[in-house]
Amino acid sequence: MAIIRAEALSKTYRVADKQPGLAGTLRHFVQRRHRDVAAVKGVSFTIEAGEMVGFLGPNGAGKTTTLKMLSGLIHPSGGSAEVAGYLPQRRQADFLRQITLVMGQKQQLIWDLPPLDSLRVNAAVYGLDDATARRRIAELADMLELGEELTRPVRKLSLGQRMKAELLAALLHQPAVLFLDEPTLGLDINAQARVRAFLADYNRRHGATVLLTSHYLADITALCPRVLLIHEGGLFHDGSLRELSSRLAPCRLVRLELEEPRPAADFVSYGEVEACDGRDVRLLVERERLTEVVARLLATLEVRDLEVSDPPIEELIGRLFRQGAVA
């Protein structure tokens, strides 16, 4: 059963349109002009309970705006959203008890006090009795490998420790739906891995639904069997990363290590030469021709090693975002 449903969801912001310089400032002062910017354009999808879904897109694509609409922080300009059976923008208490929104680099913990003080407030706000709050704090702290950090002022914690404490605070009420906006932003590789492991563990233990945005594709590949790719406010892809890869690149990458160096011109008939560096060659070959091309390569050349793979997804998505052209 779908726990998140977005139907032609859209959001348009009205922004002031001011030209630079003194003349622009004066003109703007006398006659203020605005223009409408469509941040999200009619996005539709459903997410089943317990799913972990990655939300991909370049900066300004509308990912965060969509998360804000789904969590009820902002009202949609059009379309509708339903989360856990509620209209998010109404922000009813029963709805808020079932969700959480974590925004990397934004904090809810009180900066000058230890996280435990903020956790006590959260426990009271969500109506957890002392025993339940203690048990959950202990469980989450154990999963997040947090100990005495909980009694140190937040300002004294490292970024990684702070993010883990933020996650603890955001999950204390055991929400059924987690909206995570760049939860690993700025963390080092070890801290990223720990947060990832924690999220996977949390999802397994509590069956929580997770919608995650991240600039680190490793987060998505490690956690999310399904991805939503949003581009210029619209939904470009809804499916697995593998399907996305096939869609973005109808080619496969063939790496060759030759016995003798060869010029690039020798490989033009096999496919697109991506790189030719002496004995190391990289070719992009159409999927339908792959078997035939590999057979020909092995028959006509002295090949020491051959490897077939999908082009890196980062590269494909990056290329898509740079091109700006979406089919």
């Binding site: 912001y13 922080l73 902002i74 809810q108 000058d112 003080d117 903020s118 407030v121 009271a124 706000v125």
Partner: protein, 283 residues
């Protein structure tokens, strides 16, 4: 069933209030030096006392001052000293700064997590104000003690009834001030710099609240007009009450309740309209 639900909600509210207050009090204690400086910055009534003393009617049996010769202001030196001391105390415990805190939270994106918790965010600011008042208390007592040491003749013990009424009046004055500022703070949802509007209120507040002069010195027409605004109830009324000066107690309390009854629904309506516009600035 209904009573059980009410009991449960009260218990929940009590727990939230305790948790919010204790965390905010811990935070204020971290900033105790700043709180002391804020308390000291509220010494305006003592400066005004120095100025108005020149015009005061001297108590019977004492040499008349310039004020007596000029017609005076209807208060003798002792009454004037007590009034301004009480104005200082009333101001210390009714001051509100929610507009600045709220504006900063809205601009920095800290409001977003508050909006996603099942608690009206304004309660956090109420708790912060109350915690700050408790932190201020020792500094206010200290300043009052120094004042009594310098002017022992001013020392008086108000009746228990007056003390209770004053505490209630100051609490209502704080509520009016808080709601008034909250209305302005909520305008952050429309204009990112709502605190500029608060400055518009500062001048009428300064003069009509009785902070720079007892309302007795104002021309009767202006004094009457002032009582149609909430300002005299924010400082002058609690100060006069504590100083033991004649004041229409029932009518003033009724006016305060009236202002709260007016401001509360306005605040809630503005809030409801404002959050619809909220675009999670900085978040």
């Amino acid at each position: 069933m209904r009573i059980w639900n009410l009991g449960r909600r009260l218990h929940h509210g009590g727990r939230v209030a305790r948790a919010l207050f204790s965390s905010q009090y811990a935070l204020m204690l971290e900033y105790r030096a700043e709180t002391a400086l804020w308390a000291l910055s509220g010494l305006l009534p003592f400066i005004m006392l120095g100025i108005w003393s020149q015009l005061a009617v001297p108590p019977a049996g004492l040499e008349p001052g310039h004020g007596a010769e000029a017609g005076g202001i209807g208060l003798d030196q002792l009454q004037l000293s007590r009034y301004f001391l009480c104005a200082f105390v009333a101001r210390q415990f009714s001051v509100a700064w929610v507009v600045y805190a709220f504006e900063e939270d809205a601009l920095q994106g800290r409001l977003s997590p508050y909006l996603l918790q099942p608690l009206q965010p304004l309660w956090r600011y109420v708790a912060a104000h109350l915690a700050e008042q408790v932190t201020r208390l020792p500094f206010v007592v200290l300043i009052a003690a120094v004042f009594f040491l310098l002017q022992p003749a001013v020392l008086w013990i108000p009746s228990p009834g007056r003390i209770v009424a004053t505490v209630l009046a100051i609490w209502l004055a704080f509520t009016i001030n808080f709601l008034l500022q909250s209305c302005i703070a909520i305008l952050c949802f429309w204009s990112e710099r709502a605190s500029a509007l608060e400055r518009l209120l500062f001048i009428p507040y300064l003069f009509l609240s009785g902070l720079v002069a007892p309302l007795e010195v104002f021309p009767p027409a202006l004094r009457a007009a002032a009582h149609w605004t909430p300002f005299p109830y924010m400082v002058a009324f609690p100060a006069q009450l504590l100083a033991g000066q004649p004041v229409p107690i029932a009518a003033s309390f009724a006016a305060m309740v009236g202002w709260i009854s007016l401001l509360l629904p306005i605040t809630l309506l503005l809030w409801r309209a404002g959050v619809r516009r909220y675009s999670a600035m900085g978040a």
